[in-house]
């Protein structure tokens, strides 16, 4: 079971309090009607799905109920950092080397 630090509650809590909510930093297009079908499909369905570092959203469902971001390794499952919505990750694939 993962132990997750909620950046809003500022506490380590058990995984069962949280739900994963998919790839982070996907921005909803401001003018959807101007997108091509390809661009819209890309926004809706296509994902990075990396083997390695992943920036992903989680929600503290049985806690403060806020969404936040996690940088996690999808092979070892190690959590590298958690950060609030709107912020950028400190750890990225290029920085990790």
């Amino acid at each position: 079971m993962l132990h997750i630090y909620c950046p809003y509650c500022e506490e380590m809590r058990e995984e069962e309090e949280f739900n994963p909510a998919g790839q982070a930093h996907i921005e909803r297009p401001l003018q959807p009607e101007e997108l091509s079908d390809e661009q819209w499909a890309r926004y809706l369905f296509f994902r990075k799905n990396p083997r390695g570092l992943h920036h992903e959203m989680w929600v503290h469902a049985h806690g403060c109920r806020k969404y936040f971001n996690i940088t996690r390794n999808t092979v070892t499952y190690q959590i590298m950092e958690t950060y609030k919505m709107g912020l950028q990750p400190n750890i990225t694939a290029s920085k990790e080397g």
Partner: protein, 416 residues
């Protein structure tokens, strides 16, 4: 290829079973193959087999980074059925079920294919409406199916808690009598043996690390054993499909999740069919060896680690005990995980790509074991003709752009 038979078994017993032929060899990669298949799971091996058998292409290599069948093929809960809702999907899975029905004879390999039937339980009025709709649609498509009442379910599975006091009372079920189970690793081995007999090279411990292209067409694969040139490349890498797609700068509408399963200690025969419930989210059958085979749901996070979180196992066990209170004292023997490539509409992707000669067969997610022969069969056709097989056509990756999704979340609701 040495033919297997009851007589052979008797003959070899006289020499203490020490003289059986090796089932397949360990060849050195050739410089060039007409077709390279990435992934030595059931789907990849079946693809190679049907390419050789039905399309006369025999200069083929199956490239597997680990051992044959070591991926999801031999990690699943072995449920086979074809009672999907939409025409496209039910035709696809029914094509596969029909192939299963003659496969052990065809491959001369005991797949322990057992048509013991599958029950999909309903626990609410809406469940029952959905079940009726699905069974009706199956029958219109020529697929066997029946709607059973609670009493009929109880008669079939006396140990299932069908009382009114259950937390989620059983209100009925759909029943597909031709559905069942098979021995999953035997499926990989049977296809591997038959493919090799037709001239296919099985390259184990060979990991694809890159895909070389020339003038927009595929030229071959880079591996830890050097470059292997190829006329065409078919990728059947299940949970690792996105990793291979990235090698040609492609993204897929896939997410790779851990999916866990477990078996109990062996018991005397107690359950002679497969019971699945979307609602309490559990599914269980009993193997011929006697163990209860229990499948969990996916972990919601991305995971390439072939293991998931313990709370998912705990939830699964709670669901099984809810349905079968008498199993509460059974001890579990082993648990494990696979990496499933889930697709937004719970249907596979069988597709050409923007790279000429590169094909993908993936997205089978939590439910592709049942499709092993069918998937290999139509993917082989797609590769051989550079044209999708009619059954594969609706499953092109283009459906995510055109919007022609085939939503099978209902029929695929519980991971299987």
């Amino acid at each position: 290829m040495q033919q297997y038979s009851g007589f052979g078994l008797l003959k070899h017993s006289l020499s203490y079973h020490e003289n059986w032929q090796r089932v397949w060899s360990n060849p050195i990669p050739k410089k060039h193959y007409d077709v390279v298949i990435i992934g030595g799971g059931g789907h990849g091996l079946a693809t190679a087999y049907y390419l050789a058998k039905e399309h006369g292409i025999t200069n083929i290599a199956v490239v597997e980074k680990g051992y044959l069948g070591g991926g999801n093929t031999a990690r699943n809960t072995t449920i086979i059925r074809s009672n999907y809702l939409w025409d496209e999907a039910s035709h696809l899975y029914e094509h596969s079920l029909k192939l299963w029905e003659g496969l052990a004879q065809e491959l001369n390999y005991n797949l322990m294919f057992s048509q013991r039937g599958v029950l999909n339980l309903g626990h609410s009025l809406q469940d029952m409406r959905d079940i009726e709709r699905r069974v009706n649609s199956n029958r219109l498509n020529g697929i066997d199916g029946e709607v059973l009442t609670t009493a009929q379910v109880q008669e079939m599975v006396p140990i299932l808690d069908c009382s009114k006091n259950a937390r989620y009372p059983v209100m009925g079920a759909s029943w597909q009598a031709r559905a069942g189970t098979a021995r999953h690793d035997a499926v990989a081995w049977g296809f591997a043996r038959a493919a090799e007999a037709l001239g296919v090279d099985l390259l184990q411990q060979t990991e694809v690390t890159g895909i070389r292209r020339k003038d927009g067409a595929v030229a071959g694969v880079e591996t830890n054993r050097g470059f292997i040139s190829a006329g065409k490349v078919g990728c059947v890498a299940a949970g690792n499909s996105s990793v291979i797609a990235k090698m040609v700068g492609m993204e897929l509408p896939l997410e790779s999740h851990p999916l866990q399963a477990m078996v109990s200690e062996p018991l005397k025969p107690i359950l002679d069919t497969v019971v699945m419930s979307n609602h309490v989210h559990g599914y269980v059958s009993q193997s011929d060896k006697g163990d209860l085979v229990i499948g969990a749901g996916i972990d919601g996070y991305l995971g390439y680690g072939q293991r998931g979180s313990f709370n998912v196992v705990e939830d699964t066990i709670a669901a099984i005990i809810e349905m079968f209170p008498m199993f509460s004292r059974v001890r579990l023997n082993r648990a494990w995980g696979g990496i499933v490539d889930t697709c937004p509409d719970a249907c596979p992707i069988i597709s050409k790509t923007h790279v000429k000669g590169l094909y993908f067969n993936c997205g089978w997610g939590t439910g592709g074991f049942k499709a092993t022969p069918g998937s290999g069969n139509i993917f082989a056709h797609t590769i051989a003709h550079d044209q999708p097989h009619p059954l594969a056509k609706p499953f092109s990756v283009d459906r995510f752009t055109s919007g022609e999704l085939i939503d099978e979340h209902g029929a695929a609701g519980v991971a299987h």
